[in-house]
Amino acid sequence: MNNTMPAIKATKKHFAAKPSFLRAVFAIVWKDIQAEYRSLELISAMLVFSLLVIIIFNFALDVEFKVRQTVAAGVLWTTFAFAGTLGLNRSMAVEKDRGCLDGLLLAPVDRSAIYFGKAISNLIFMLVVEAVVLPVYSVLYGRNLIQPGLLMVILLGSIGYVGVGTLLATMSVQTRTRDILLSILLFPVVLPVLLPAIIASNGFLAGVELAEILFPIGLLVAYDVIFIAVAFMVFDNVVEE
């Protein structure tokens, strides 16, 4: 340990104008990726949990192969939702435990930049986990899940889930019961995203016409926009005492 205290150089003013919104968002996303690359705590926990859920469902639904194919979309989204909760909790706990959330809130940036930065990081981690989980699902459930239409639904569903999840995780992390509170708050609120996501996913897996599943896809897009807009408007109030 370096115990010496060198002489201080004469100071000059380093004060500058506040950073742009995008620069602040990028800084937060890059910081989260760097920290996760080092620890792999969040992604590994989500991944292990997802794979365990797949295996448990695989045994629990040890029914006819055809029946198993029909429930594939529901199982897929259940897995994403549970694993996502784990990731959201961990992502905000890292900020809270060492006071880093205060560090972010003390910065001279629009607080919605903090929300978008955290939400984008969470989305990236969720998409990484989904990219690993999908091929495993394809094998176990006998369906090719790597289809452009289904991938689009997964992206839209993940955006909505993470959009509202990041806001609720920020709220719950400030309470003593944060580990259980997020699940209790999140699942009822995120249902309008999960239901059209499951319906649209089922449609793509069943090979129905695109026109027949445009409605749930439209609902997904609408909920994504609504959730993100609401989070953008209320985030400041959520983080300030």
């Binding site: 201080i8 500058a16 104008a17 080092r38 205060d102 940036v109």
Partner: protein, 233 residues
């Protein structure tokens, strides 16, 4: 530099601050002393724009809180007993992240300058989670001065530090104060506050009950002054 008028803070039915009036001139070092639960941390969190006042006015560097919070935050450096640092990033990466958030010009040179200032330039590539508590607290101060703020707020900065680390922190605090910054520090440690501050305010039960400058107060009398102020409240 800091003007607070009739500040009230409520959490539900509980009133934590009951009409605080407080003024700090540029370059002053004010030690805010008081027992546990007096409202010191709440008061500092309001000054830091982390908490909204229920009633009253707060002005820092000519900007109003909470309306002009972003302008205030650009001029504030805050140190608490929590590190506000990411354990899985190195010291350098932590400072680079905050330099981006504060839009610090010539950030690489400034990061080096700050790491030298807090005596951590040789450990700049090490992960913060491998640092001792004292080293983390020095880096926390480095993070707080990175954007060269006019006003520094210290909330119990000595919490959890051993004797060596506390002495080292004394040096860093003296340096920070000697650079012409306005400093407000909460502390339970009267001896350290006596050594560093130019003014002593006593906060008790949500109001400032007494205030004295170093000149008004003979050095040996801070403890007596503190006890008298608490007894009168």
């Amino acid at each position: 530099m800091i003007t607070v008028k009739k500040l009230v803070k409520r959490f539900g039915l509980k009133i934590v601050l009951r009409g605080v009036d407080f003024e700090v001139q540029p370059g002053e070092f004010v030690a805010l002393l008081g027992p546990n639960g007096a409202g010191k941390t709440t008061f500092l969190r309001i000054l830091a724009s982390l908490s909204r006042p229920s009633l009253g006015e707060v002005n820092i560097a000519g900007y109003k809180l909470p309306a002009q919070a972003e302008q205030v935050r650009a001029r504030l450096g805050v140190v608490s007993h929590l590190p506000l640092l990411y354990g899985d990033l190195t010291a350098e990466e932590n400072l680079r992240f905050y330099a981006r958030l504060y839009n610090v010009p010539n950030s690489e040179a400034r990061i080096t300058e700050v790491l030298e200032m807090v005596g951590l330039d040789t450990r700049r590539q090490d992960l913060v989670r491998t640092y001792s508590r004292g080293m983390q607290q020095r880096l926390t101060i480095g993070r707080a001065v990175l954007h060269d703020p006019d006003v520094m707020l210290f909330d119990e900065p000595y919490t959890g530090l051993d004797q060596d680390a506390s002495s080292m922190l004394d040096d860093v605090l003296k340096t920070v104060a000697s650079q012409g910054r306005t400093v407000v520090m909460t502390s339970h440690d009267l001896a350290r506050a006596e050594d560093l501050a130019t003014r002593f305010d006593i906060l008790s039960r949500g109001v400032i009950t007494a205030s004295a400058t170093r000149r008004q107060l003979k050095k040996s009398n801070l403890l007596t002054f503190y006890k008298q102020a608490l007894a009168a409240s």
